[in-house]
Amino acid sequence: MKGIVSLIVVLGAWQGAGWAGWLNPHLLPPPTEILQAFRETAAGGVLLGHALASLNRVLTGLFYACLVALPLGVLAASSRRVRGYLQPLIELLRPIPPIAWIPLAVLWFGVRGDRASNFITFVAAFFPLFLHTFSGVRHIEQLHLNAARSLGASRRMLLLDVALPSALPFIITGFRISLGFAWMCVIGAELIASTSGLGYMIEINRSMLNTANVMCGMITIGVIGYLMNEGIMLLERRFSWRPLQ
């Protein structure tokens, strides 16, 4: 309730300032104009097309990140030797923001097509997913491992029936963080290295001084990011075997 009140107050003041002529509409168009921009971009399917392009890149990057990060995380958690090899590498690469990879991605993959952006979302999604899988598997209770061993579990069962389900709540959290991060980074990638997507849309409208469309794109980015996060939180609650407090 309080959230809605503050939203209305801000929007009202903003609109009021617009009507009073205090705002330069090229720099900060009032809400009604942004609404109008929504109607226009939605009508032609332009907005949906850009949104789907961005989502597609995020999901592609996330898919490949899962493919690499999950097995690597499990491996690093269960083998001291693998951990020894991987740790310095990961620790050196991790502080590099995914958007800092954009120039390289452009050189490698060009700005046409999805590959540069897919690469950026992969980089963004990889680290949270890897680290959460790693710590999920590392946090298996010794009691559960001992129980499994005294019940005759094979290595395969230790992995599939103990390690992975035990780590699943961590992994889903990692997945959620990866998704959010990849979503932020895909927009960054599209600003520079793409010819479609919401990032491209706000950048191209910026260059045409079509500020209402820029903000319409920004709001869409926010809403989609919010919905994805809420969706995974539902999933987290559903698949968490930990009793909820």
Partner: protein, 273 residues
């Protein structure tokens, strides 16, 4: 000794103190023979190494010195034939009761349909039918324990090693579970080894009670419990029960007093009991 299922000879074990790096002896030159089919309790003051001993028998820890043989073979790793019921049961919280009990059956390679059927048999044995699809956190302490026992029995073990399995149960549930385990013991005819610091429990349930010295642990004495079988709660008012309890209380008390003098910290009253 004939008929020994476990043969423990001159076992010593120490742990490194993580802070000082000093070696802390926990078990010192312990020898023990356990007969197949017996119900044996091991009691001793806190920190006497009884859990360490159990973990060594289970194959989770190796002795520093000495040997542990199971059926004539050295114990090198855990095996479902010598399964363990842990203090907190170690149920997998991400699996239902059925999933937990199926685990050891799956581990030995049974097909899903067969798995289910065998698991249901054990679930019924511990009177947990109707709760097959419940998760551990939905169960009471006693029910969790039943699930843990069903899972252990599903290993078709020769030996069931129990590490203070009643520690987190209230008194009434504890007594009920003691009787349950005795019933299962006589049904399956296997060897049960119980770690406890509860004297009444040890006397009531066992054919033999092993008293351990204060740290570093060693067998202080081994007492045959010549009470009538099958054990019913009435046994506790048997004059022989009182006599055994008196004897064992004194024996255990001496050790507990040593630990108090040694560690200079109070030991909870429940320990002496």
């Amino acid at each position: 000794m004939t008929g020994s299922i476990f043969s423990i000879k001159n076992v010593s074990k120490s742990f490194k103190d993580p802070k000082s790096g000093d070696s802390l002896p926990v078990i010192n030159d312990l020898s023990l023979e356990i007969k197949g089919g017996d119900f044996v309790s091991i009691i001793g003051p806190s920190g006497c190494g009884k859990t360490t001993l159990l973990y060594q028998m289970g194959g989770f820890l190796r002795p520093d010195e000495g040997t542990i043989h199971y059926k004539g073979q050295p114990v090198l790793a855990p095996h479902p034939e010598r399964t363990v019921i842990f203090q907190e049961y170690g149920l997998f919280p991400w699996k239902t009761v059925l999933g937990n009990v199926e685990f050891p059956i799956k581990a030995r390679g049974a097909l899903p349909a067969e798995r289910r059927e065998i698991a249901l048999k054990y679930i019924k044995m511990v009177h947990l039918n109707g709760f097959e699809n419940s998760y551990p956190h939905q169960l009471s302490g006693g029910m969790k324990q039943r699930a843990g026992i069903a899972r252990a029995l599903a290993c078709q073990p020769e030996v069931v090693l129990m590490d203070e399995p009643f520690a987190s149960l209230d008194n009434i549930t504890r007594e009920i579970m003691q009787e349950e385990i005795l019933r299962l013991w006589s049904e399956v005819g296997k060897t049960f080894i119980l770690i406890t610091h509860h004297l009444d429990e040890a006397i009531f349930m066992s054919r033999r009670v092993i008293v351990m010295d204060a740290r570093p642990g060693r067998v202080k004495e081994s007492v045959e419990i010549d009470l009538p079988e099958p054990r019913t709660p009435e046994v506790k008012s048997h004059p022989r029960f009182a006599a055994l309890k008196k004897h064992l209380t004194r024996s255990l008390r001496e050790e507990v007093e040593k630990t108090i003098a040694f560690a200079k910290e109070p030991v909870p009253a429940a320990e002496v009991n």
